[in-house]
């Protein structure tokens, strides 16, 4: 079974090829079977491989399919590496991916680009699997770029609308910035260690480089740059809210469960390198903390249902970065797992609201959907509870672990995380109260079919009970040293549990019972500006606009006539000029010809005289 590891990323790729070549000729039924079925087969294979892996004491298993390139001392094989970390990621990608594919078969059934959609989704899943299973950094980079491509194609899926194309372009360009940093990191690592195979690279680095030296700091920082771009953390986070222009299943799969977690996976995978560079690891934590706060505040004032969830994703990944930064590696991956469950659930539920409610996105135009769409309502409840980390949900276990680890590292970070948890509670329940409670403004168009409902049910179950999963990640990560504080019932633990509940209560007071009015609060001068500030994502879009976009456009406008092209234009211009001059000599007038003959004679005699 383990030998079939190479097939796991290959089968979705085959699905992609089939759909690309013959998609237009196939019926909807066959397309959905090919599209969802390929991911289902991969999920099945992953499960079987998983059982065998767990039986075998979780020995890391390497499977090399073939050689990609060998140049001098660079040897890059198509190699796949299975250990507990990649096993976890494998489950997330194939499992949640399969559920989302089934959901999309229902969600996208009226769309003319049905085959194209599933083709791109399969391409994406294949690339993500390559990324997660890669045993060397070059193959990982291939998967990295592949998911970027898939993201671009899927965000701009409805390409008739220009704004979708701009959003896709924005996502691609911003992640590109991170990718360049990562590529530079790869170059640095290769020139110094002469190998890009992950395991040997990490052991070489640990033995050869001293902690805190320039080389590990530089390479870790560069890899961090790549992770920041892909995972939408500060300062490269502005692309994710705009990426909501894509279809909702895309947002669920790519921008909640898988692609944006690739950065977290990268850092977790290369964690020995980060252990060698404590300053960079601290930077990871700080970036995570700042991002979760910024995104949380922005989510508080948004009115588009998907944008709330997008900022929420940024915020939750901030928690994962925070965990990585303080050394709680397993906690970060655990939070990645639970986040995949409840965020996918939330996005899919939001999708069913949108598709069944006149494609409306503004939550203040909705209301009272509790009675009309009960399944969606309970999915949202469960998802939001997990998001806010209310006790006994899966989100609670993972976030609690992170916050406790943060406290052990630095109380300041813990306080920031705490504030973030409070805000998370407020905005997630704000969403629920505004959309599902209150008076119903319009009637529901249609109910979601079973294709959309069953995945919601399954994900709801996972979001509720997923916290019970014990992932054996200790075989991969160094165990966080217990600092002797038993956190079970002391003050810190109590406050950590209480803060999301306080957030829930605040949301109840503002949005459910109407005791306080958010409207009146934000009408005041300072509060109003603050609200505007948060709404625009802390002004970062405007900042980048003035700092980067405007100068670039100005320079491009100045170079409108393309200086470099001037060489070729100049050649043509010169030839035309010469032609004009040459044809001017053919006047057709006899006296002119006579004069030219005399001129020639004079010239030749002169040469004869002077030589």
């Amino acid at each position: 079974m383990l030998g079939l590891l190479g097939w796991v990323p290959l089968i979705p790729l085959m699905g992609f090829l089939i759909l690309v070549m013959a998609g237009d000729q196939l019926s909807r039924l066959i397309i959905s079977w090919v599209g969802a079925g390929s991911v289902a087969v991969s999920a099945l294979l992953a499960t079987l491989i998983g059982f065998e892996f767990l039986d075998g004491d979780m020995q890391p298993y390497r499977h090399i399919v073939g050689s990609w390139m060998t140049i001098d001392d660079l040897s890059v094989p198509f190699g796949f590496y299975l250990d507990a970390l990649s096993m976890t990621m494998l489950f997330v990608v194939t499992g949640v991916g399969f559920l989302i594919h089934v959901y999309s078969a229902g969600f996208m059934e009226d769309d003319p680009g049905y085959a194209r959609f599933f083709a791109y989704m399969n391409l994406f899943v294949s690339a993500m699997l390559v990324l997660v299973l890669a045993d060397n950094l070059v193959l990982l980079y291939l998967g990295w770029e592949g998911v970027g491509l898939g993201s671009y194609l899927l965000i701009g899926f409805w390409y008739d609308e220009p704004n979708n194309g701009y959003a896709a372009r924005k996502a691609f360009v911003m992640t590109r910035i991170g990718d360049t940093a990562m590529a530079l990191g790869l170059f640095l690592l290769f020139t110094q260690l002469h190998t890009l195979d992950i395991q040997s690279l990490l052991s070489l680095a640990s033995s050869q480089w001293a902690p805190g030296a320039v080389l590990p700091v530089a390479s870790a920082a560069l890899l961090l740059g790549g992770a920041v771009g892909k995972s939408a953390q500060l300062p490269l986070q502005t692309w994710l809210p705009d990426a909501m222009a894509g279809p909702t299943p895309v947002s669920a799969l790519i921008h909640a469960a898988t692609m944006v977690t690739a950065g977290v996976y990268l850092i977790a995978r290369t964690h020995p390198l980060f252990l060698l560079a404590p300053t960079v690891q601290l930077a990871v934590a700080v970036i995570g903390a700042l991002t979760l706060l910024v995104a949380g505040c922005s989510a508080l004032v948004q009115t588009d249902i998907k944008r709330i969830l997008a900022y929420s994703t940024i915020s939750q990944i901030g928690y994962m970065f925070l965990a990585l930064g303080v050394g709680a590696w397993s906690a970060a991956i655990f939070h990645l797992l639970t986040h995949a469950f409840f965020k996918a659930l939330l996005f899919l539920a939001a999708g069913s609201v949108i598709s069944c409610f006149h494609h409306e996105h503004n939550i203040f135009k909705m209301g009272g959907l509790r009675k009309a769409m009960p399944l969606t309502f309970w999915s949202f409840m469960i998802g939001s509870a997990a998001l806010a980390a209310l006790p006994l949900t899966s989100g609670y276990y993972s976030k609690h672990e992170i916050l406790l680890a943060a406290f052990d590292a630095s109380p300041v970070l813990w306080a920031v995380g705490l504030l973030g948890a409070l805000i998370t509670g407020i905005y997630s329940f704000r969403l629920i109260f505004v959309v599902f409670f209150g008076a119903q403004s319009q009637t529901v168009e249609k109910k979601p079919g079973w294709l959309m409902s069953v995945p919601l049910l399954l994900l709801a179950g996972l979001a509720l009970f997923g916290g019970m999963l014990q992932i054996p990640l200790n075989s991969v990560f160094p165990v966080l040293i217990d600092q002797g504080n038993d956190h079970t019932f002391n003050l810190v633990s109590v406050i950590t549990v209480a803060s999301p509940i306080i957030g829930l209560l605040i949301a109840v007071l503002f949005y459910l019972t109407g005791t306080f009015s958010a409207q009146r609060l934000s009408d005041g001068g300072l509060a109003g500006t603050l609200r505007q500030f948060f709404l625009s994502g802390w002004g970062m879009d405007a900042l980048y606009e003035t700092l980067l976009v405007r100068p670039f456009i100005t320079l491009s406008t100045m170079n409108k006539n393309d200086v470099v092209d001037g060489l070729y234009v100049g050649v043509a211009w010169l030839v035309r000029g010469l032609h004009r001059m040459a044809s001017a000599t053919q006047t057709g007038r006899v006296r002119w010809y006579g004069a030219s003959m005399v001129f020639g004679a004079v010239f030749i005699i002169a040469i004869g005289l002077l030589s």
């Binding site: 004069a595 005399v598 001129f599 004079v602 005699i605 002169a606 005289l609």
Partner: protein, 173 residues
């Protein structure tokens, strides 16, 4: 000595006549000046001792070829309109370019001539010598010259035929 003075006078006449010829508005006037120039050159031939050539110059060049010109000009019957047109065409500014070009040519050739050695002319070559040469070594040239004249004759006849028809029809109606 005498020959030299006569040479200077005659060449002055020739040059003057040529200059006048090229600046006349009326074609007939220019023609007459041309005839004068040719006659002057004929005198120079005589001064150089080329009696046969001098006679040829006067009889054939000035006598036949120029008369041909006269006939054609008369036949065309251009009139006052042409003279006005010539006045418009011959602006003073128009002389600059060609004069410059010709001047450069003149300077070059002047240099070449002056660089040659000195020599004296004046040996009389009389008609008898020329005749003997014509009937001797240059016999073929004579024949070819007659071929050329035949060709010119045929060409002139062929090219002039429609004109002939046109004038005849004009004359009849």
């Amino acid at each position: 000595m005498l020959a030299l003075i006569l040479f200077y006078i005659t060449s002055a006449v020739a040059i003057f006549a040529t200059v006048m010829m090229i600046t006349r508005l009326n074609a007939v006037h220019g023609l007459l000046y041309l005839i004068l120039s040719l006659l002057a050159v004929g005198v120079i031939f005589f001064l150089l001792g080329a009696h046969f050539a001098a006679v040829l110059e006067v009889i054939i060049y000035a006598g036949a070829i120029m008369v041909l010109f006269v006939f054609v000009i008369m036949m065309l019957n251009l009139g006052q309109k042409t003279i006005e047109q010539e006045r418009i065409w011959l602006q003073p500014g128009i002389w600059r370019g060609p004069s410059l070009l010709a001047l450069i040519l003149f300077v070059e050739m002047f240099v070449i001539i002056v660089l040659g050695g000195n020599a004296e002319t004046g040996q009389v070559v009389n008609s008898k010598q020329v005749g003997i040469a014509l009937f001797g070594p240059y016999l073929l040239a004579v024949e070819l010259a007659s071929m050329l004249l035949l060709a010119g004759l045929v060409g002139a006849y062929h090219l002039g035929k429609p004109m002939l028809k046109a004038t005849r029809s004009r004359g009849h109606s």
